[in-house]
Symmetry: C2
Subunit: 365 residues, 2 copies
């Protein structure tokens, strides 16, 4: 039986609750003899700061380096609003992305038919929606230097962030997008601001070349990032795969997620480069939603995004594609049967708890 | 009779058509003896490049400096895709913004009741929507240096853009937002990415201080830019005034505009600092929509955003508040009477031409 090493980083807020539901899945796979998961646990975000004075410890980073996959919950909350900038909860996530080299962030935005009415958009615009935002995750303005605040002679402050991209960084994320599109509708929209940003000019140039030289069969469209945001609102179904930089990806993927009406349901995968020797790639999986400190600890959170993130790990890290399909079908069937956590329940309708939803998905498997 | 100096820069695509409708308004004001406008014309964008080899000539810039207000149509189109970067059509607009010091961009997103069904959002989310995005327009990643593409020793390219903000730049745009909010629902949401960007940290800090020291009666809320984009989709009516930086403002204002279902209808104002001696401020007014080269020259364009931009000029540059109210009422009445250009007509319904719409607004005045 295949055996994998999984590092679980529940984090803050609702992170631990939804992570607990993943452990039920892990046990189920074990019981079925489908795969064995060696699960380790560690802290990240505010929880790590409280314990170690850093948003992720070096020991946890070492475990993440060694794991076959990292499963990440969520970080942050008002409790840590005052901590020094370098130790804010998000720093743990950013260090994981950067140090593990997780340059490719895949954010599917799928509208579950049972939930189409939960969208603020009219049903016809979101029913059947199935797009993926491919976001560059280790470059751009997130990590470029200089990145600082300096005090000027006149007492004013001056803050700077640096948006930086190289040919190589754009090539590799473009390839991820084209490869993914090839298994879908083979249509890639590349979003940048070439009319204002030099990084946008280079982005456009490199994506155009990768398309021409390596994926001439795909349909490629270039779209300005501001227009892309509008088009997502106007008619999201025109897209298949949207590839974009770190900062635009942050915003566009959130817009796409919100369109579906299924924000608490959407998983994501952050992947590194394939090691040519082993064929393995580092990977981190996390729900698109945040830590929702306002509802933490009450059993109200929707675990589906977290369960779906485990599903993406099955698919992309463990090669258990059939198991991933089966898990996705189980989630869809539970929803079709009418089970709802509070976030997706109709006003006044009965809602199940985080644990009940997790149990139901395991039962449906 | 008050007399004003207006520079009309129609630009490219549908710019000239919609600008022609403004001239009808100007003549009407003249005839009524309400105000006299000295209208000058010049080129900008691709049209200027074709004529002078630059996206705006120094002579046109000098006229813009001297005008009481600039009315701008739209720029760009596939015809100029290949021109050198420094001369691309957008460069004309960026130079106007920067050289005239137009740091405050006001973009109202209003849902005309008659058009609520044109939105991709459900009617209940957009009916009655009335928010303003206040976008910083002369700083940030649009103008920060270095901004370049360099070729590295290994043949790769490396592109960089620089996001830069100083205390002073943030203070003055925050004041514009709080002043505007005071005449509305007195609620300001300030959007940044302080969890990732140092400019976001400074932005947050300065807006917080301006609020505390100068506008303690306003309600201030800080929101991460990615979450703000989501909230605009989920429930835009929660906002009143949203203040944000140049790049986030570009995207958030487009999302807000698209929500209304009235994209072809939305005007914007870009304002400079008040001259302490004269009380005057430089200003440019432009529709939110682009140059739409695909429908240019066919009389299909909706002139309302352009007419509304003239309305904003009446209000902010010429102090003709009553006339501005009257123009807005005329636009609303024409829409209520059922007149529609093609972009807002129901499928299959009759549509009027650009010129007919302009005539109808003048008649309603
Ligand atoms: C938590 C934060 C640093 C992060 C980001 O900005 O990337 C989040 O918004 C996301 O999209 O994963
Ligand atoms: C045309 C372009 C340079 C401009 C911008 O990015 O600011 C436009 O998108 C806008 O929002 O006015």
């Amino acid at each position: 039986m295949a055996s994998f090493n999984l590092l679980l980083l529940p984090g803050d807020g609702i992170g631990p609750e939804v992570a607990a539901e993943v452990e039920k899945l892990v046990k189920w796979f074990d019981r079925q003899g489908l795969a064995r998961f060696e699960v380790e646990h560690d802290l990240v975000g505010g929880a790590a700061y409280d314990a170690h004075g850093a948003a992720i410890s070096d020991a946890a980073m070492a475990r993440a380096e060694a794991a076959d996959a990292v499963l990440f919950g969520a970080v942050g909350g008002p409790k840590w609003d005052g901590v020094p900038y370098a130790h804010r909860p998000e720093a743990g996530l950013l260090r994981l992305r950067k140090d593990l080299g997780l340059f490719a962030n895949l954010r599917p935005a799928i509208c579950y038919p049972a939930l189409a009415d939960a969208s603020s958009l009219k049903r016809e615009h979101v029913e059947g929606l199935d797009i993926v935002i491919v976001r560059e995750l280790t470059g751009g303005v997130y990590f470029g230097e200089p990145k600082e605040i300096v005090t000027l002679e006149n007492g004013e402050k001056r803050a700077v962030d640096t948006q930086l991209y190289t040919t190589h960084e754009i090539e590799r994320i473009a390839r991820v997008a084209f490869e993914l599109a090839a298994r879908r509708r083979n249509h890639v929209a590349s979003a940048e601001k070439r009319n204002v940003m030099r990084t946008g000019v280079l982005w456009n140039e490199v994506v155009t070349r990768v398309h021409k030289d390596e994926y001439p069969g795909a349909r490629l469209e270039h779209v300005l990032a501001d227009n892309c945001a509008m088009q997502l609102v106007r008619n999201p179904k025109q897209y298949d795969v949207v590839v974009t930089d770190n900062l635009f990806g942050d915003i566009l993927s959130d817009v796409a997620a919100m369109l579906t009406g299924s924000l608490g349901m959407l998983p994501s995968a952050s992947l590194g480069a394939e090691d040519p020797a082993t064929g393995k790639r580092k990977a981190l999986y996390e729900p698109v939603h945040g830590s929702a400190p306002d509802i933490a600890g009450q059993g109200l959170a929707n675990p589906i995004a977290m369960l779906g993130s485990f599903g993406m790990a099955l698919r992309y890290s463990f090669g258990l594609v059939e198991a991933a399909d089966r898990l996705e079908a189980a989630i869809a069937s539970v929803l079709a049967a009418g089970l709802r956590t509070r976030d997706i329940a109709a006003p006044g309708a009965n809602a199940v708890s985080t644990g009940e939803m997790g149990d139901a998905v395991v039962a449906a498997l």
